[in-house]
Symmetry: none
Subunit: 207 residues, 4 copies
């Protein structure tokens, strides 16, 4: 089991630390049993604390689901931002972003699954990510690199492909990452030939 989020809270006050434990526990149990089939009892027992303590930290179960998904998403966004800060080309940015998210998710068991499921159950929870995506798409359009609409429908199509890629992600099949990026580029109106080139170029931006 990962102690990622309680580690993140190390040095903070007790409240934050307990919260971290609960998020780690939720993540673990959601991953084991599926979000819908996870019971609060399972989570607090796993966390080693009373059922009632949970309610000192979260409004209800859904609140925990959001917190878990958000926590993961924030980490991923941070990781992405660090990687793409110097990249101007929107297509390269997209590829590097996908790469960063997926590789980071891979380092943490459960992340992909929980994120993908949460996206289905509480799509609103991840709107911020949508903003980031739209931004990047619009920039690509402005630069003539992309050829697509950037309305809600198309963003949903893109998100679906990304999430579906995340679901299919496995440690022993990293090619999924590039294939997802390639599909995203195609959706964005890049020709197959050009998309292939971009994938190669992007390699320069990560090891």
């Amino acid at each position: 089991m990962s102690r990622h989020f309680q580690d993140r809270a190390r040095g903070q006050n007790k409240r934050a630390r307990t919260r971290g434990v609960l998020i780690d526990s939720g993540l673990e149990i959601f991953g084991q049993k599926g979000i819908i089939n996870s019971r609060l009892d399972d989570i607090t027992k796993f966390a080693g604390m009373s059922n009632a303590t949970f309610y000192n930290h979260f409004k209800d179960k859904d609140d925990l689901v959001s917190a878990v998904a958000t926590s993961i998403a924030l980490e991923l966004v941070a990781a992405v931002e660090e990687q793409v800060v110097d990249i101007k080309d929107p297509a390269i940015r997209l590829v590097v972003s996908t790469n960063t998210v997926m590789r980071t998710a891979l380092q943490h068991e459960r992340w992909s699954y929980v994120l993908a499921t949460a996206f289905f159950l509480v799509p609103e929870g991840l709107i911020d990510v949508g903003g980031y995506l739209k931004n990047n798409v619009d920039r690509g359009m402005a630069q003539g690199v992309f050829n697509t609409a950037s309305d809600e429908f198309q963003l949903n199509q893109l998100a679906s492909v990304f999430i579906s890629g995340l679901r299919g992600l496995k440690k022993d099949n990293l090619s999924i990452i590039d294939r997802t990026s390639e599909n995203l580029l195609r959706l964005l109106g890049v020709t197959p030939a050009k998309a292939s080139t971009i994938l190669d170029e992007a390699k320069a931006f990560y090891h």
Copy 2:
């Protein structure tokens, strides 16, 4: 409320007719409250029959979910097959198929939503459709029309786009249909320009 499936059972024995009523009712309630939040009581009350009768026809709630999704899928497949029987070109077939499915779904309130949700909850239930899809993709590859892998991963990517399109479908925004087809073609390796042409050509095959 639609009586589609009880109408389909007209002339058959009482057992089949009652089953039809239950499927219609499940569809209706699933559509109203969401599959997860639908209670058997709601469904049987809506169906105008005893709670116990349900269990003469279905093993449990999941069994009904599958039956509903399968019933819809079978209707759609039948409608598609009728439309594409004479079409050789896989790209055109794909566009016409998408068109047929979505227009048929639109004629029946709830179909898109229930199908899309069921696809998430019980993906195995819709495997047959996957076979049909793969078949078409392979044919397109053989003819040099498509340029893509046709393994499970890619089929899932395609399905995600299709389902996401289905979810976004609205009676007052039929452009969604073509846009979904266009995205599918792009994923299949058709260039944006060519995809646009194909969409136009396909118009000849449906009114």
Copy 3:
């Protein structure tokens, strides 16, 4: 599975034959699952007939339980009467009766178990047997062979020992039969030494 009671009805009208099938089926299922855990559905499915047909023959489930127990009891009584008709000595009668009942029960899988369980659940159903027993005890008292009360309490004590013996009965351990008889004789006030002798004498009256 035994067809004993439908065989008994051979040659009689259809009503009697169907009834026989239901009794055999009840016996079988009661034996398999225990009387309390047997469902009507199990029984009628096993009998190969509709659930509703059952109610053409029996008032309710308890009625079947009684019918099964009574049917068995009647067979046993008949077998016993045939064996003891010429035996005057009440002690010998008792031993031969026990022997006959238990050996007959052994020939029919399920009989011992169902009889013993039914005795617990519907003790009233087997009152007749009680009458027979009391009669024999009183005769033994009159002849000075037994030394005991013959009121309801004592008859219950005797019945408990008999039923407990029936429960412990196994094909591969026939000694249970004599040991039960011996205990019954002891309860009836026969000294252990005398009881032992009686058991030997009784051997002359059955093969």
Copy 4:
């Protein structure tokens, strides 16, 4: 209604006290309606607590049945041990034990009935008592007081007689106690004459 077991838990923590209330309530309702016909709702309503609370203390209904039977059995065993601690003669011990158990049971409405019924439904629950019995029988054999086997079959015969006696027990007919003891002695191979003597001798050991 008796508060015996909640009184036993007086001074312990709340958990133990609530458990005591539930055992008392189970005992009461089992006694009123029979174990099989008792519903959890009846029991928790009688206990004045929520249905759900029950499940904080017991796994399911059977668990309560066992707990009730075991609680009674433990009390009886304790009472017996106190009475017989100084008695060496196994025959006297047996009589005094029977006497103690039955008189104690009589002081608590429902005890006899529930114990007897539970013995039929969950015989395994009372195995310990069996151990105590076997022990005493073996000792009697060694001292030449008893003349019987002490295998499982015979212990079951003895238990049946005891339980049957318990079932027949009434406040206004205490003779049942001695008659049960007498039957047990007879089963154990004591001659009727000697058994009668022992019963008299035993009177010295209880008031």
